[in-house]
């Protein structure tokens, strides 16, 4: 469904992503794992068109045009919302621009327990509720392809469970998800395939059961990014 070839992202002199290539197939959750600052969010932002890049990004065989944004749902790490609006007004705005999604937004808002917050300005909501508004706005138009940057951050247990179940159902019905996290337990449970990224490069990619043999994903990951011997640090800070 998504093909990324030789993706490079620069912020001035600094090259954050250095020639990354991967593919996300229909029916799978593809996880991008990496330490803070590795370039995970930059890759996700490039796919949706939030940062300029070199290389090739194709969705369903085509370059992503503004019209194709109705096939994509994006949950950013830091919610991108219009703070002065209420969630209801925000969903109304998004549905009007997308030309669809108002009924689904109502259903999702109820599912995520947002009813009592619908008339409050987004600026006054807690981090968790802002995240829920962001998630609803990304899912309300039934996109085929989801880009989710740390979507479970700040969610309460019930909402996290709803979202995880939704993600699984989404891929089972032929959708695809590009998903970023730095929490290994979540990646282990959710992802069909992963790419480990460090300092802007993919250093491992494949199915988790193929990559990880007699160890946990966390041990495998720490070995790759050079953090396996943490005993000394823990002793020092204790």
């Amino acid at each position: 469904m998504l093909e990324v070839r030789d993706l490079r992202i620069r912020y001035g002199e600094f090259e954050a992503v250095k020639g990354v290539s991967f593919e996300v197939k229909a029916g799978e959750i593809f996880g991008i794992l990496g330490p803070n600052g590795a370039g995970k969010s930059s890759i996700l932002k490039a796919v949706i068109g939030l940062v300029e890049y070199e290389g090739e990004v194709r969705l369903m065989g085509k370059e992503i045009t503004p019209e194709m944004k109705n096939d994509i749902g994006f949950v950013p790490e830091e919610p991108i919302l219009i703070e002065s609006l209420t969630p209801a007004e925000f969903f109304e705005f998004i549905a009007s621009i997308r030309g669809k999604g108002e009924r689904k937004a109502e259903v999702l808002a109820r599912a995520f327990g947002l009813e009592e917050y619908m008339s409050r300005p987004i600026a006054t909501l807690s981090m968790g509720n802002r995240r829920k508004v962001s998630i609803v706005s990304a899912l309300m138009h039934d996109p085929k392809f989801l880009i989710m940057d740390e979507p479970l951050n700040g969610l309460d247990a019930k909402s996290a469970r709803i979202l995880k179940d939704f993600m699984r159902k989404h891929v089972e019905s032929g959708g695809a998800i590009l998903f970023s996290t730095h929490i290994m337990e979540i990646a282990e449970k959710m992802c069909d395939r992963i790419a480990v990224i460090n300092e802007g490069r993919i250093i491992a990619m494949g199915r988790i059961d193929e990559l990880v043999k007699d160890e946990t994903l966390e041990d495998f990951f720490l070995k790759l990014v050079g953090g396996e011997d943490l005993g000394g640090i823990v002793d020092a800070i204790s």
């Binding site: 219009i82 609006l85 030309g99 008339s119 300005p121």
Partner: protein, 473 residues
């Protein structure tokens, strides 16, 4: 904890205060905001300080000017910082509660942060005004003028806290019904008119001071503020002025204590759960509704957008134009600021959000154009029964639509900080389109031609040309 340490702690909190509202609006552009916000805050403070000190010193020479100055101080301090104060009253400064600080220290830091909002202008005026009064009225004026100015400042700060709480709790964040939007709009319009009204009153005082004999007006009205304060400040211990000032002094003490109490308690808004229904509209209406909500929930934006209407009120109602030339002049003043409005609205767009949506740029341009035309329409209505502003309406539409289209093709819409020359080119283009009919009208007036035809013909031509820009994007 020592005073200086607490004062230092309050500094980052003050910057956080002025930063919060900017970051809320321009989440996608945080780095630039952080870089420029401190400079903006300091420079606007310095400009206000120079303005207030100069007016204070200049006013000291005559009592009627001092009266105008006292009135202006009360108004400027109460309203000028409304935006920052609204953020202040809504902030809990939770970070302080996580630090090893006593409740008493936290309260002091909160008050110091409040003081930082006003520090430079008020301290400067408190020092410079009494010195200027001593210069013009002798040493006897020093103490009374200092007491009077301090009293006005305390009452103004108290009013500013109350206004901010009112805006935060009842106006800015009131959502939901159409009635609340109307209430919000009426409040802002009343505020804008009060702004103009008090400015007009102080200007009238200033004007009166130039006419001999009006100085004695201060004595005739010495039983009422600001004339009683004006008289006392000059060192004249008039019993009537003193007696009528005593309740205001008492009010200052009360306001001082109340300000401290009010400043220590953050505002909370209570919302009730409502039944919600999400209604989809067409994209242009969606952009318009969103912009209208953004503008009416933010007093700062509202006042900027309302400038042409206020100008129309001033130059079309207060100073009534008598001739066609006067009307063209008044319309030119309204048109002077008008082309900025769509660009201000574009600057408020959340571009990071739009990048994730399948929006059409044509819809965006058209919505800003309609919004600008709506503002001009109200200004033109205020000028009625004079129809001249309506003849230029097609040119106003063309200015917005062509200006925005060209700005977009030059890449000057998304980021106003990039490409100063491109931005200037767009501004020149906008003013050219706007003023061609006006110039044509003036020329017709000079050569004795038909002014209405001279206004309408180029305006309609520009309108039809602008329609070509609708097809793109």
């Amino acid at each position: 904890m020592r005073f200086l340490e607490l004062w230092r702690i309050s500094k980052p909190l003050y910057y956080d205060l002025i930063l919060s509202e900017f970051v809320q609006r321009r989440r996608g552009n945080v780095e630039e905001v952080v870089r420029s916000v401190r400079i903006n805050a300091i420079s606007s403070k310095i400009i206000l300080t120079i303005f207030m000190v100069l007016i204070g010193v200049y006013s000291a020479r005559s009592l009627i000017d001092v009266s105008a100055f006292f009135l202006m101080m009360l108004f400027v301090v109460s309203f000028f910082f409304l935006h920052t104060m609204t953020t202040f009253v809504s902030k809990g400064f939770e970070i302080l509660k996580t630090l090893p600080l006593s409740e008493d220290d936290i309260a002091k830091i909160r008050l110091m942060t409040l003081f930082r909002v006003f520090d430079l202008p008020l301290v400067s005026v408190t020092v410079s005004f009494p010195i200027a009064m001593v210069w013009y009225h002798g040493a006897k004026a020093f103490l009374p003028s200092m007491i009077c100015i301090l009293s006005v400042e305390i009452i103004s700060i108290f009013l500013s806290i109350r206004f901010a709480k009112f805006f935060y709790e009842k106006v800015a964040y009131s959502t939901g019904s159409a009635l609340s939007i109307i209430l919000r709009t009426i409040t802002y319009i009343a505020w804008s008119i009060a702004f103009v009204g008090i400015y007009a009153i102080s200007s009238i005082f200033s004007f009166l001071s130039k006419i001999s004999g009006f100085e004695k007006m201060v004595y005739e009205f010495r039983f009422v503020y600001p004339f009683n304060y004006s008289l006392l400040s000059s060192g004249v211990m008039d019993p009537v002025a003193l007696l009528t000032s005593l309740p205001i002094f008492a009010l200052s003490f009360y306001a001082f204590r109340l300000s401290i109490r009010e400043a220590l308690v953050e505002s909370r808004i209570s919302f009730r759960a409502v039944r919600f229904k999400i209604r989809r509209t067409n994209p242009i209406t969606a952009f318009l509704k969103k912009d209208f909500r953004l503008v009416t929930r933010n007093p700062g934006f509202f006042v900027i957008v309302a400038i042409p209407v206020v100008e129309a009120f001033l130059f079309g109602r207060i100073i009534k134009p008598n001739t066609t030339f006067d009307t063209l002049l008044a319309t030119s003043i309204i048109l002077g600021f008008l082309p900025m409005i769509p660009f201000i609205l574009i600057g408020l767009e959340s571009w990071d959000l739009l990048a994730t949506l399948p929006f059409k740029r044509r819809h965006l341009r058209l919505s800003k154009t309609i919004f600008g035309c709506f503002v001009y329409g109200i200004s033109a209505l205020v000028m009625l029964p004079n129809f001249v502003p309506f003849l230029i309406y097609p040119a106003v539409f063309a200015t917005f639509l062509i200006g925005l289209s060209i700005a977009e093709s030059l890449g000057a819409t998304r980021n106003v900080y990039v490409g100063l020359w491109k931005a200037l080119a767009v501004i020149v283009l906008c003013y050219t389109i706007t003023f061609i009919p006006i110039v044509s009208g003036i020329v017709a007036l000079m050569i004795g031609g038909n002014v209405y035809l001279a206004l309408l013909t180029p305006a309609l031509l520009e309108f039809f040309v602008s329609l070509m820009f609708l097809a793109e994007g």
